[in-house]
Symmetry: C2
Subunit: 370 residues, 2 copies
């Protein structure tokens, strides 16, 4: 099957105020029809990083050249450690030095870090210019590029400063995943796995069956996994863009996961690795509170294991775990709110007895030591 | 007339997505009813500056204490030079160190700089928390606190990084104007004067008649001037929150004015002083293009003169003027767009022949030399 004739999957995100397409397929960077109909402007600016930029910027420039008279690129340093104001300012410096106006369209070419920062910069530059997500990692294609969450990190917490700001289109070219390092790919798989337990038992079954194909990056399996992930996310975001309630279920595994990421220092564990382990801790807690049957938790653990993700928690110390979880954005009035499972396919957000939480953390940390 | 029994003026801002009150009157910081019905939260944080903080923070704390269990204050350095990311970060550091959650309400107590930064911080903290404007300068009461424009400056331009983010209420206590230095007060008067030419000929007439009372800060004249200014601004913002068209007329005098402010360095001329002179340059340009009769331009110049504002432009050099105006957010594709007058009470946005603009600038600069 050649890339040009391969099918394109389309998922619509509709928040009420904004409506846009997620397009998924092979060879999209080289297909002219994919890039038509975006906001018109004199200038477009590609924001990318030092890893992805050399691989894909030329192809994106070629795709955009018919639509924008002036094209330029900002290349940011790669990595979560650079998801900060200093990188944002590099974008702003470039936009202003190039006299970019209010109609300038930004294109985020890269993973979640590039997407989050480009979206935040687009939301703030002259109080808002349009932007397009071109995610090049599995994690970004199934999660961070969809739904309009943008942010930078603060020393006291991840993604603490940001906006809800929706892109005009999300373009997921499966070909860009081919060069993704294995560890990053598996980290993305953690977010795919997440959509089963929180929203779709049948997708969970499918994932159990198709995990070998997904680990082999087979295009048809990958296209289905990305489409179904985006559909579930689009459905949730369409009902609750600003995380007043339902949207919080997308953070399944993230309360524990963020504590692991921040506690170890960004980059020690990848986001999806922390979320993979965090999902198991959330499932443990669900079982301990009598919400979830132990068999379902075991199935989830088997799937996370099969996805090559860590299942043992790092030893940050109990008080550090609790402190870091208290900084979670879902926390309210100092009370930590957990996304827990009632069954595979059904999540809910609730508080939990801190003593039980402590037991759960201790057990996952001890498992590591054993 | 005691403050407690004095009338309260109320103006409603309705952008479609958001609706809130502007309350105007004497002694509002001390009146319990004014502070009821705001968003509930465990914590509220007052953001102020080193000049206003010592004067009014205690009164505001007293007003808020019945509604919020935890109250704290962030005091920023005073002045436009500090309207930057470093000051924003002081707010974020405080919010995170105090484990403020997503419901925390921010109160901006101060002038336009405090209001713009507090609004921007509220819009970004955990992707958005509610905030309330408590403007303590005339400029902020009639202009910057109303309408949801928030921003910080960038070395290459004023207010380049920011958001449209509406407050939950605007509370204008006339008593806070009593301590305002004369030069700042007159700078605020420039924005009051602005509303006549762009939208309301009758208000222009009233201003001509009442200027001595306004310069004497007579409360009844002041209350009317602030209410009418806020009404006009609320009406424009309600029709065009995001400056797709109409809202640009509120920038009458600002294209030239921003060039003066930035060209001299922030703080050399106050914002309203630059706008006062900028309005005359825009009126000159309107006359030169045959849009406005010279008699109306003369009336405007007489009013700006009577308001004690500068009418002669500083000599930045012609090319510097044009360069700085090209950085204006209204510029599109490198073309500068001017807010011009068709008559007193009617503005429109248009481009202009650069050679005529050069003549206008040269004339206002030479007038200064003569």
């Amino acid at each position: 099957m050649s890339a040009d004739s391969s099918p394109i999957e389309r998922v619509v995100v509709d928040t009420g105020a904004d409506r846009y397409d997620i397009l998924i397929g092979r060879g999209l960077l080289g297909r002219a029809d994919i890039w038509a109909g975006l906001p018109k402007a004199r200038q477009a600016v590609i924001v990318t990083n030092s890893t992805i930029g050399p691989l894909w910027t030329d192809a994106l420039c070629k795709a955009l050249a018919p639509h924008y008279a002036q094209l330029s690129t900002v290349e940011l340093p790669d990595g979560e450690a650079h998801k900060d104001w200093s990188s944002m300012n590099r974008i702003f410096d470039h936009l202003l030095a190039s006299t970019c106006d209010r109609k300038t369209v930004l294109f985020a070419l890269g993973g979640g870090v590039v997407g989050d920062m480009t979206g935040f910069a687009a939301g703030c530059y002259m109080r808002g210019v349009p932007f397009v997500q071109v995610p090049t990692t599995l994690l970004a294609q199934v999660d961070s590029s969809v739904g309009g969450k943008t942010a930078i990190n603060h020393p006291l917490g991840k993604n603490m400063i940001g906006l809800f700001y929706q892109p005009r289109r999300v373009i997921c070219d499966l070909d860009t995943l081919a060069t993704l390092p294995e560890r990053e790919y598996l980290s993305g798989l953690a977010e795919v796995v997440k959509y089963g337990p929180i929203a779709d038992a049948a997708f969970f079954d499918w994932l159990e069956a198709q995990l070998p194909a997904l680990r082999a990056r087979e295009p048809l399996a990958l296209a289905h996994a990305i489409r179904r992930s985006c559909e579930i996310k689009a459905d949730v975001v369409g009902q609750d863009e600003r995380e007043a309630g339902l949207r919080a279920i997308l953070n399944f595994g993230h309360t524990f996961g963020h504590a692991i990421e921040t506690g170890l220092g960004y980059g020690e564990w990848l986001h999806g690795e922390a979320v993979g382990c965090g999902m198991l801790m959330a499932a443990d807690l669900s079982v301990a509170l009598g919400l979830l049957d132990p068999g379902s938790a075991q199935r989830l653990e088997a799937l996370v294991t099969a996805a090559g993700l860590p299942t043992r928690a790092p030893d940050l110390g109990l008080s550090r775990y609790l402190e870091l979880m208290g900084h979670d954005k879902k926390a309210e009035g100092g009370h930590i709110r957990y996304v827990l499972l009632e069954r595979l396919g059904q999540a809910r957000v609730t508080e939990a007895d801190p003593r039980i939480v402590e037991q759960i953390i201790t057990r996952r940390v001890e498992l590591r030591a054993s």
